[in-house]
């Protein structure tokens, strides 16, 4: 089946059997294109809108206002600095869920690029994850502002821990998005499944409620949920002004590697079929 040698204008660096290595070298090799598409994606989000960049803040702020009202006043959940707590979970969740939502469609939606030109297609899902990451990074000042209002600010050491947490989330999301984008080319149901699944996932993740509310016998579920671990890490940094537990980071590393390895493998397996199907 695959007797034809792969050669093209954008010849990839020396081939390797591990899909993940191929994906990473492709992305690094085409970093100029990744950057250009990333800039385009970001400009696109804000061009022509009156409030522009404010939208990045506005959506989580509105969510925060509603959840604060519902959970702090109506349901009287007892969490110190609840607004800050919410925001510290909502912002990384927004990064994750928007990446999944948009990224699943990255190959199908980028058909004009996929069918007519030559470049490694994993660039498209990667750009989605990266552009949402940039949005997240840009909204960190909002988090700091909220912390300042509550008199909580991350310690210098927690800043150091923030970097690997963000890097891990980026990798974890990318792996997932690669697999979903590839599946979505073959089975267009995937985008609907993802949209529904994300809502369930949101409520299974301790974002609007603290992890301590989860009954002890159900705690294992939290360990099985990578997003719960990510949010826990963000809470540690921004709300408790401490740092994530090392076992949390170790688990996250394991999840990220698994996600990337499997995601890149799946994507690579489907890669050749994209131009015919999108």
């Amino acid at each position: 089946m695959k007797s034809a040698p792969r050669r093209s204008l954008t010849a990839r660096p020396a081939g390797t059997s591990l899909a993940l290595v191929t994906t990473v070298t492709d992305l690094v090799y085409h970093r100029a294109l990744v950057t250009a598409l990333l800039v385009r994606q970001l400009k696109l989000r804000y061009r022509g809108s009156v409030l522009g960049f404010v939208w990045t803040f506005l959506n989580p702020l509105l969510l925060m206002a509603v959840y604060s009202l519902v959970f702090s006043f109506y349901m009287r959940i007892a969490v110190p600095h609840y607004a800050l707590f919410l925001l510290a979970g909502l912002l990384p969740w927004t990064w994750f869920s928007s990446s999944l939502g948009e990224g699943t469609n990255a190959i199908v939606g980028g058909s004009s690029l996929v069918t007519k030109s030559l470049f490694p297609t994993e660039i498209l899902p990667a750009v989605v994850v990266l552009s949402n990451m940039v949005n997240f990074l840009l909204s960190i000042p909002l988090l700091l502002l909220a912390g300042w209002l509550y008199g909580v600010s991350p310690s210098p050491l927690s800043w150091v821990f923030l970097v690997p947490v963000i890097a891990l989330q980026c990798g974890f999301t990318l792996g997932l998005v690669l697999a979903l984008a590839a599946f979505n080319v073959h089975y267009r149901d995937v985008q609907h499944i993802v949209a529904n699944f994300l809502l369930l996932w949101f409520f299974l993740t301790p974002i609007v409620y603290p992890a301590t509310q989860v009954p002890t016998e159900m705690r294992a579920l939290l360990w099985a949920n990578p997003l719960a671990l990510f949010i826990e890490a963000y809470h540690a940094v921004f709300v408790s002004s401490s740092w994530p537990k090392l076992e949390t980071l170790a688990m996250l590393l394991a999840y990220t590697l698994a996600s990337l390895l499997v995601g890149a493998k799946i994507f690579d397996g489907y890669r050749d079929t994209f131009p015919e199907l999108v």
Partner: protein, 413 residues
Amino acid sequence: MAIATRSPSSFEDDPPEIQPGGGGAEPAAIRLSGVRKRFRKYTVRGGYSTLKTSLMNRMFRRKFPAGNYLDVLNGVDLDVAPGLTLGIIGRNGSGKSTLLKIMAGIIRPDGGAVEVRGRVSPLIELGAGFHPDFSGRENVYLNGLVIGMSKAETEQRFDSIVEFAGLADAIDDPVRTYSSGMYMRLGFSVAVHADPDVLLIDEILAVGDESFVGRCYERIAAFQAAGKTIVMVSHGLESIERWCHEAVWIDGGRIAARGYPTEVTRLYHAAVGAEDGPPAKERSLRDSLRPGRLAAVIRVLEPPTRTPETWHHVARVLLDVENVGDTVWRSLPPTRRGTVMVGGRLHSGERFLGETLRALIPRDVHPGERVCVEFKFKLPGSGRYRVDVDLVNEGICWFAERGSTPLPVEVTI
């Protein structure tokens, strides 16, 4: 005034010197061997498989029946010599565009091997990935990266890209305000500035205003002059005849014919336009092709000179062709059966570059008559060439196929 005459005796003296197409010392720029491609057929109802149908198929071990596949290419072997301009013609759905996409590496074949030397620039669809909300400038940079230029290269060629597209005034406007012509001009301009070794063109010059098409061809001529390999797919048989050294007719996923562009387009025409009615039955030149019997004598009346056409290297030579056989040579449109033409095989040194355009004989020539034929042909660039002039009838190169040597004409341009 160079005079060269072929007489019957020369058949024994001159061993055949004709090389098969693309048989030069240099390796082929594009080499396809046994390329096959099949697509799954998609109906509207089963537009794409859903998870459900896929699971059902797997559960019940259903395989897609054989009829659900469409064999687009059934073993295509094609060598394209470097510097050659090859035209691909064929009906809609005959696999031309698929072939081009396989050469470009966008689609991978199901079987066979593809080898392409050098940087490929596919002009499959111009302005791939242009975003309507972005300015021409922004799109040029992105499109440049998409088609494989580095950022520095794009920057360096930016002014030239804009100038060629003729969009200096509009380059900072959003692309959605562009007319389709402007859009296409910009896309073409970026693509040709990628400086490829192999240019693949899919039916793009059919649109665009006169002056831009002229400039596109100028650019293609420059590519030819620079010794780049070009493969173009077109329904415009005229442009194939005018621009290609050779043509290939694809039918039913196979190569139906390959050879001189005019000859191939004629065959194609004959096959497609069967409704033109059966051609008049006439004795063709072929009938007089008997061993040891000479049907034509060709002399050079006026040695090759460059024509005043500006955008590429066209040489013109005046030939005197005498009918010494016993059949009437019919002067018919090039697509009709039985017409007699003058053709040539172009060489640079010992390297075969391809077959050149034909020249029609201006009128019917009866046995014993002679006629003056103006023979124009393209050259890939300046230099010394040899054109082996031959008489062509129904795809037969008369001298060459008789085991004799066609009339060699030296050209320096």
